[in-house]
């Protein structure tokens, strides 16, 4: 029938699985293209690399706290008493060919995994890609990030070196301070008093089986939901909420994503080659009486570390009990606020805006000024605590008194998010104004022309359709039913204090620079309604486009033609 050598295989498979139609749909599936859509892929490929290198490491690693005396290739620790876990990690590093490389790739991949998840989630947040219908995938993402922190903590504790041992000690201290059950939990986790002999094997099985299984399940769900709901797309010409524009899986997306896997692996391999990470032989084996100064946990623990450092020494003692706020607040509150806030945000925003529509075209961050400002203020909050986690290094390298860094951070965690919120919002509105200006007046070409009457003008060129399509794409925030601020009777759901709060929040969240009227040309997607009343609230005001005259307006009308 055919000379294609694959035809036989294809028929064999299709005879058994009825695969032709499904396989064609797969090959034909369209993926939209934008650099920021690769961030999630970095996380995915880091995870695959973690699985591959991790399996390699388990072939030699011994998760045992049994004490041994080391007589291996790393002669500086010859004769030193250490746990089998630490000794086997030395063995992987110095006696297994490729062992050090795999260890370092594994550690770099872990850092990249967490970092990629974080940046990916920031992208999702700032573009509004968490909105209906993707709320569930957003929540899965938050769970994945949480698990990745736990997985990282368990993983870097396994070598049982001095640095990670201090981390475990801190973990034990934090658990102990939990009211009522804290000491019990700590004793159950560690199998008795710290350090005991159980924590490494327990962390090991959590690290190599329990959490990876959860990861596999959740990542699979995450990908299937993404696949089923189809990817979002950035604003652009012909990009609507009911279509997806891009290139099909076979061969385009397959080739691109395959290349990206290789790039990720190459970057991690080169990092593992040229950038030393977690040189446990320098830290020495764990000892409860020793510690080294100036050492840092992996970056994703920095925020917790900073929170613990910045907290003042608050504690309650009453009726023979102690509540250690100095530990409980920093251990639970900052990450709890960020994660809980992230989890409820889609639903909160939906309630405030009353927006029940599907959103498959992303927002440009500037076009949701309040959301972007909130996100950036969370980044600032996180950033202050993260930097405070390395305050000793700042103090040392910049010759600042150590306590000053902490005192500054104590104020900065409140001030910086507020400043960031305000500044970000103004920047967004400014960028919107710039967009409006471009739509009205076109792009400045830099060409100065002298008119016959001697007047100099700068020539502008009209936006092309692609540019225009991006600029006019705006989120459509529906107006709320009347809150009855005048004589009118308030609509249901808008009554009372809750209704007033909602109205106030809606007013904040809907604040935007209106699009100029020149977009009413068929390319505009029917937004612009609802912007009129907002315009009145703009501090600077904005002259209606129709009132403007000049070459820009000409340019715009040419673009319409």
């Amino acid at each position: 029938m055919s000379s294609n050598p694959l035809a036989g295989v294809g028929i064999w498979v299709d005879d058994r699985f009825h695969a032709a139609r499904g396989a064609r749909a797969l090959a034909r599936k369209i993926f939209p293209d934008h650099w920021s859509f690769l961030l999630g892929e970095i996380a995915l490929y880091s995870f695959i690399i973690l699985l591959l290198t991790g399996v390699f490491l388990t072939l030699w690693f011994q998760p045992s706290m049994t004490s041994v005396v080391y007589h291996g290739s790393y002669t500086r620790l010859d004769g030193v008493k250490m746990s089998q876990a630490y000794a086997s990690t030395l063995n992987i590093s110095f006696d297994v060919r490729g062992g050090l490389l795999m260890r370092q790739i594994h550690h770099w991949a872990a850092d990249l995994f967490v970092a990629a998840i974080m940046v990916h989630m920031l992208r999702i947040f700032f573009t509004g890609a968490y909105r209906k219908p993707r709320e569930v995938n957003w929540l899965i993402g938050i769970v994945l990030l949480t698990l990745s922190l736990l997985e990282g903590l368990a993983g870097y504790s396994l070598p049982d070196d001095l640095l990670s041992g201090a981390g475990l000690r801190i973990l034990e201290g934090v658990i102990q301070t939990i009211p009522i059950v804290g000491t019990y939990l700590a004793f159950f986790l560690f199998g008795g008093p710290f350090p005991g002999h159980d924590i490494i094997p327990r962390l090991y099985i959590i690290h190599v089986l329990l959490l990876p299984a959860l990861f596999l399940a959740l990542i699979t769900a995450h990908l299937f939901i993404m696949f089923h709901q189809k990817h979002t797309q950035m604003p652009g010409k012909g990009h609507t909420n009911t279509n997806v524009v891009g290139a099909q899986t076979y061969p385009y997306f397959m080739a691109k994503t395959g290349a990206f896997f290789f790039f990720t692996f190459a970057a991690l391999a080169l990092a593992g080659t040229f950038a030393q990470i977690n040189a446990i032989w320098l830290y020495g084996p764990f000892s409860p009486t020793a510690i080294s100064a100036g050492t840092q946990p992996d970056f994703y623990m920095g925020m917790l570390e900073g929170a613990l450092r910045v907290m003042p020494a608050w504690q309650w003692t009453f009726l023979g009990h102690t509540v250690a706020w100095n530990v409980l607040i920093p251990a639970l509150l900052p990450l709890g606020l960020v994660f809980t806030g992230a989890a409820i945000w889609p639903f909160l925003e939906r309630w405030i805006t009353g927006d029940k529509a599907y959103h498959n075209v992303n927002d440009r961050p500037r076009n949701a000024p309040t959301r972007t400002a909130i996100g950036m203020s969370v980044v600032a909050f996180y950033g202050v605590l993260w930097l405070e986690g390395a305050n000793d290094l700042f103090a040392e390298h910049f010759d600042i008194p150590l306590y000053v860094t902490t005192i500054v951070a104590r104020y900065a965690i409140f001030i910086m998010p507020a400043i960031t919120y305000f500044v970000t919002k103004r920047i967004c509105l400014g960028l919107q104004r710039k967009d409006a200006h471009l739509l009205e007046h076109g792009v400045e070409t830099g060409i100065i022309r002298q008119l016959p009457n001697g007047e100099f003008i700068e020539e502008t060129r009209p936006l092309n359709e692609d540019e225009r399509a991006v600029l006019v794409a705006r989120p459509d925030i529906p107006a709320l039913p009347s809150g009855g601020d005048g004589d009118a009777v308030p609509a249901p759901g808008m009554r009372g204090a809750v209704g007033r709060v909602r109205e106030r929040l809606h007013h904040t969240i809907a604040e935007s620079v209106p699009l100029p009227d020149v977009t009413a040309d068929g390319h505009g997607n029917g937004h612009g309604n609802g912007h009129g009343e907002i315009e009145g609230n703009e501090p600077d005001g904005h002259a209606p486009a129709a009132a403007r005259q000049g070459d820009g307006a000409d340019g715009a009308s040419q673009a319409d033609a």
């Binding site: 490389l101 524009v245 290349a259 409860p288 003042p312 020494a313 305050n391």
Partner: protein, 367 residues
């Protein structure tokens, strides 16, 4: 990057270069909104199909992807670059295998060199594959922009109603609602199923009891320097100076004991030590404090002689060494407990007793 040669903005370049290619225009491609039900034709081999059933297909099926790139010359050049990348990747891959055999480990330098060559060849191999594949897709494959309709996610009202009906019928048939006895006993039966696994975890560790209140220090137990395990006499401190770590005799190698019992001792000039340091518990200006930070249990191991501050490097709690190790700064809420100390008849520093309060971080049961 390889794709910059495609022109300023990739998006623009793509849309620009697709002009005139049949089937690439979104509107044209969008025509049949429902997916085609026919087997597609792989682009490079028009005459052949994967499943070999082309005979049944209408031959006039319009192409969904262009067969050729718009600029064959450029594609030809790119093809050679891609091939070169793949050859480099192949060579690097073979080099990896050769280096694995050539470079032995078992020494620090051996491990270093092995890591260097294995990692470089591995990185180069993947880099070659990645760069090659990217140039391939960017410059050798025809540029397309395709559009696909999204299907509504919500089911039709009929489907929803049908499901509701099926579900109701199933519920009725099962009697889950109409037979509350069954329902309630079933729910009751699941309670122990949920509880039992939690109970099973009970033996993960002993109960804390009062163990957090005590350490292994006992009356008369000698203080040994950590590491060298040498007993100390007051005469070993000829002048005020640094801080040394000591451990209880008999527990030098017991990490569980040392995690609470580690102690630091500092010698001060006469008259420097002041309350709330218990002066009775000091010997010749030598004072012993718990080394376990009262914040989160890290060893408070840094001592600054000029300021006489003990600093915990983990979260920078700072303790005032001559004045009862009170907290000067940082998140710790309690001073480092002082170990009652004296000299025995042989002249060695020994403990008078255990600490008089729990060492280490705060916890609920602690008053």
């Amino acid at each position: 990057m390889s794709d910059t040669s495609a022109g300023g903005q990739p998006g623009d370049a793509r849309r620009g270069s697709q002009a005139g290619q049949p089937g690439a225009e979104p509107a044209a491609d969008e025509g049949p909104a429902v997916p085609h039900r026919v087997i597609g034709t792989p682009p490079p081999a028009q005459a052949r199909t994967l499943l070999g059933q082309a005979d049944d297909e209408p031959q006039a099926q319009p192409r969904e992807l262009p067969a050729e790139v718009s600029d064959p010359e450029r594609a030809k050049r790119a093809e050679r670059v891609v091939a070169a990348c793949f050859i480099i990747a192949m060579l690097a891959g073979f080099a990896f295998i050769v280096c694995y055999a050539l470079f032995q480990v078992h020494t620090v330098n051996g491990a270093l060199h092995s890591n260097l060559v294995l990692g470089s060849t591995m990185g180069l191999a993947f880099l070659g594959l990645g760069v090659g594949a990217t140039i391939w897709v960017r410059q050798v494959m025809p540029v397309v922009e395709q559009t696909e309709e999204r299907h509504p996610l919500a089911s039709s009202p009929e489907d929803r109603a049908a499901f509701a009906k099926t579900f109701e019928e199933g519920t009725e048939a099962s009697g889950f609602v109409s037979r509350p006895l069954l329902r309630r006993t079933l729910i009751a039966a699941t309670v122990p199923v949920a509880l039992a696994p939690i109970v099973l975890l009970r033996d993960m560790g002993p109960l804390p009891g009062t163990s957090l209140e005590n350490t292994v220090w006992r009356r008369g137990m000698r203080l040994l320097t950590a590491g060298s395990n040498r007993p100390l006499t007051p005469g070993d401190f000829d002048s005020p100076g640094g801080m040394i770590t000591v451990v209880p005799e008999g527990f030098q190698n017991d990490d569980d004991a040392l995690a609470k019992a580690a102690v630091v001792i500092i010698k001060f000039a006469p008259g420097v030590l002041q309350p709330p340091t218990v002066l009775n518990w000091t010997v010749d200006g030598i004072v012993a404090y718990s080394k376990i930070c009262t914040h989160l249990g890290c060893p408070a191991a840094l001592y600054e002689q000029t300021t006489q501050h003990i600093l915990c490097p983990c979260h920078q709690s700072t303790f005032d060494a001559p004045r009862g190790a009170q907290v000067l700064f940082g998140p710790a809420t309690r001073p480092l407990p002082q170990l009652p100390m004296t000299v025995n008849s042989a002249g060695y520093l020994v403990a008078r007793s255990d600490f008089h309060e729990p060492v280490g971080p705060s916890y609920w049961e602690r008053s």
